[in-house]
């Protein structure tokens, strides 16, 4: 007859033996697999707002490069104009995402209304290009119910057009208004730093198109990368960091009015 102590010993062994193979089965998400593959690259972006003139060539280039229908009122990147008056009023607009630049001094108030701001009333004014921040902690990835949007090992957040169900949750979750539905593919769409280009050693279309060098891309993990150097040693800002997203698009010359 088996002694009680033996019984306990055998059971303990049995449980341990069973637990071992079970612990080997683990639910992994595609993101985790990617993350395990340590990458020597972390793509980041640097925008020098002092250099931006609001010409909109970046927006135009982006639309053409990434086949976002030219006339559709959605865009992966856009440029905002901020105009502050001496009275302390802040006016801002981005007509058609500044695809055609800013062709008038009047501020676009939407629905065909415009605001005239006289030159002598203006205290300061500047342009701010916007694009996906490829957040370190992207809420858009967190909320996707089917895992169709994910973060690659090099930090870029991508959308799987074959898998996206088009629920729009990621669009709601992005604090930067970067996402939209692609008018043709009917799935979530966003800036991915021209992933197809940067992986071939090319610059993103907007970086290449900017005549003033206001847009730059770099690898923050590379200490010799010029962009990386500026971000590490210079005084740079990011947009809306209060959401804990750790945005990876850095700005030179950011002002408190920028939202």
């Amino acid at each position: 007859m088996m002694k009680r102590r033996d019984f306990l010993r055998y059971s303990a062994k049995g449980v341990a033996g069973l637990a071992l193979p079970i612990s080997a089965i683990e639910i992994v998400s595609p993101g985790e697999i990617f993350a395990d593959r340590e990458s020597g690259t972390r793509w980041v972006f640097l925008v020098d707002t002092y250099k931006c003139t609001g010409c909109g060539l970046c927006v135009k280039a982006c639309k053409l490069e990434n086949e976002v229908p030219y006339e559709a009122n959605v865009t992966r990147t856009w440029v905002e104009r901020y105009v502050m008056t001496k009275e302390g009023k802040v006016w801002a607009d981005t007509p058609k995402g500044a695809r055609d630049g800013f062709t008038t001094n009047k501020i676009d108030l939407g629905e065909g209304r415009f605001q005239d701001v006289k030159n002598e009333e203006i205290q300061k004014a500047f342009f701010v290009p916007k694009l996906c921040n490829q957040c370190e902690y992207p809420p858009c990835v967190q909320v996707c119910p089917v895992g169709a949007t994910y973060q690659a090992a090099d930090g870029v957040v991508l959308v799987d057009r074959q898998w996206c169900i088009g629920c729009g949750y990621c669009i709601m979750a992005c604090p930067y208004g970067v996402r939209f539905f692609h008018p043709v593919y009917k799935v979530a769409e966003k800036c991915n730093f021209c992933y197809h280009r940067i992986n071939k050693g090319l610059k993103p279309a907007c970086v290449q198109a900017c005549p003033f060098g206001a847009r730059m891309i770099g690898n923050i993990k590379d200490p010799n990368d010029p962009v990386s150097k500026v971000i590490r040693t210079g005084r740079v800002g990011v947009i809306k960091d209060e959401y804990g997203t750790m945005p990876q698009v850095y700005y030179l010359g950011l002002s408190r009015e920028v939202v």
């Binding site: 998400s29 559709a72 009122n73 959605v74 865009t75 856009w78 905002e80 802040v90 006016w91 801002a92 607009d93 981005t94 058609k96 995402g97 108030l109 939407g110 629905e111 916007k130 809420p139 990835v141 967190q142 909320v143 996707c144 119910p145 089917v146 895992g147 169709a148 898998w163 996206c164 169900i165 088009g166 629920c167 729009g168 949750y169 669009i171 709601m172 979750a173 992005c174 604090p175 930067y176 208004g177 970067v178 996402r179 939209f180 539905f181 008018p183 009917k186 799935v187 959401y243 804990g244 939202v259």
Partner: protein, 414 residues
């Protein structure tokens, strides 16, 4: 044209990709899930807490919540840009997403409601199946019914006293387990909104609780309304036949039970209504008092743009008026009908003001968006996300209930 452009008006500084992406169907989604959860909780009040007076309405509310259940996912499905891929939520759920749990919660809840109904109706099913079996020369329809009920017995024909007693225990357990699950089903619909940190109006931990409370309110209201309508129809039929056929009680009897049931149920409705409003007001006051950076734009939406929708339609017509109607003594059926319709409208407006209101201001905090609901559809998109899509979602549960009621008579003594 970009998705959302057709029904979104933009004003002041709004970034290019911002539109009302979640439109009327996403208003319908929490509204319908809310009604499901509420109807179930109402039925559990009888089964779990043994509130005898609710017996009449409890069984009906249970069957009704089964009819409502498939409709809870209908609006979600209809608003997808890729409806054919909706099934992915079940096959590759991504669990950091609040929506991903939908598949699991929904299935569990469905199983609970379906099995509870089975236990409640088991005796009836067996008796009907046996009665039909014994019957000589059955008609085609009777043969079909026989088949249906035989299948529904699931092979268990034991209706001894002991077995029935066990059934009752099973019902009680299921109803008890069902309450937290129902609350979870709906609370987590609130979580879907409340956890969106990018949205200043949605983000509050109170959202799930607010959703649950108003869900119960709407569930009770719709159950009451449907109950009254059905009772009135029965009264009408009874009056015409002037017989006391087994299924048709006499007119006075029907009227008597009806008023009784309605009065009791309305007390519970009031209780949950007060709770829901208190929470909503707490949320509003707290936001105003703490006045974070986003309060400025929220204030302009709540007290400006959406003032009419929030304070007149939702709180005034949808909450205050029915509240007064219910507290005035001597509640009549007619007054109740008006009251519950207004309550339902109020809960609908609450969903509207959360879902649409939450998208009516820009991420820049200095621009607005206005949703113009498509009325006459001219393509699939404007149908799905317009008035008629919403109406389709509204009437489906009644059609389903009509069918279910034929199999599981919700009003007859069983």
């Amino acid at each position: 044209m970009a998705h959302g452009e057709i029904w979104t008006l933009k004003e002041f500084f709004v970034t290019p990709n911002e539109y009302i992406y979640w439109s009327i169907q996403i208003v319908m989604y929490p509204f319908m899930t809310g009604v499901v959860a509420g109807a179930f909780v109402l039925s559990s009040l009888y089964h779990v807490f043994g509130i005898r007076q609710l017996k009449e309405i409890a069984r009906f509310a249970l069957v009704f919540s089964l009819a409502l259940l498939p409709v809870a996912m209908m609006p979600l499905q209809m608003h997808l840009q890729q409806p054919m891929r909706g099934i992915e939520i079940f096959i590759t759920p991504h669990f950091t997403s609040a929506i991903a749990a939908f598949g699991i919660v929904f299935t569990v809840y469905f199983a609970i409601v379906a099995s509870e109904i089975w236990f409640v109706y088991r005796k009836f099913i067996v008796e009907t199946a046996l009665a039909l079996r014994e019957k000589a020369n059955r008609t085609m329809a009777e043969k079909l019914w026989h088949l249906t009920y035989s299948v529904l017995t699931l092979g268990s024909y034991d209706i001894s006293e002991k077995a029935i007693h066990q059934d009752e225990r099973a019902v009680k357990i299921l109803a008890t387990v069902g309450i937290p699950v129902a609350c979870f089903l709906h609370g987590y619909a609130g979580f879907i909104f409340g956890s969106v940190k990018a949205n200043a109006l949605w983000m509050t931990p109170l959202m799930p609780v607010i959703f649950i409370m108003s869900a119960i309110v709407s569930g009770i209201a719709l159950s009451m309304l449907t109950y009254i309508v059905v009772m009135e129809i029965r009264r009408f039929i009874a009056a015409r036949r002037r017989t006391a056929h087994e299924a048709f009680q006499s007119i006075e009897e029907i009227r008597g039970t009806e008023v009784n049931v309605v009065r009791i149920t309305s007390k519970y409705l009031l209780f949950f209504l007060i709770f829901a409003i208190s929470l909503e007001l707490l949320d509003l006051i707290f936001r105003g008092y703490t006045a974070l950076k986003t309060w400025d734009i929220l204030r302009r939406v709540i007290y400006g743009k959406d003032f009419f929708d929030i304070f007149i339609l939702q709180y005034g017509i949808g909450n205050l008026v029915p509240f007064i109607l219910f507290v005035i003594p001597g509640l009549t059926i007619r007054r109740t009908v008006v009251g519950v319709i207004l309550v339902l409208f109020g809960v609908f407006m609450m969903r509207w003001n959360v879902v649409i209101g939450g998208q009516s201001f820009s991420l820049t905090y200095s621009g607005f968006m206005h949703y113009v609901m498509p009325i006459i559809p001219h393509d699939m998109e404007t149908f799905n996300e317009g008035l008629f899509g919403a109406l389709l979602v509204m009437i489906t549960p009644f059609v389903l209930f009509w069918g279910l009621n034929k199999v599981f008579p919700a009003f007859r003594e069983i």
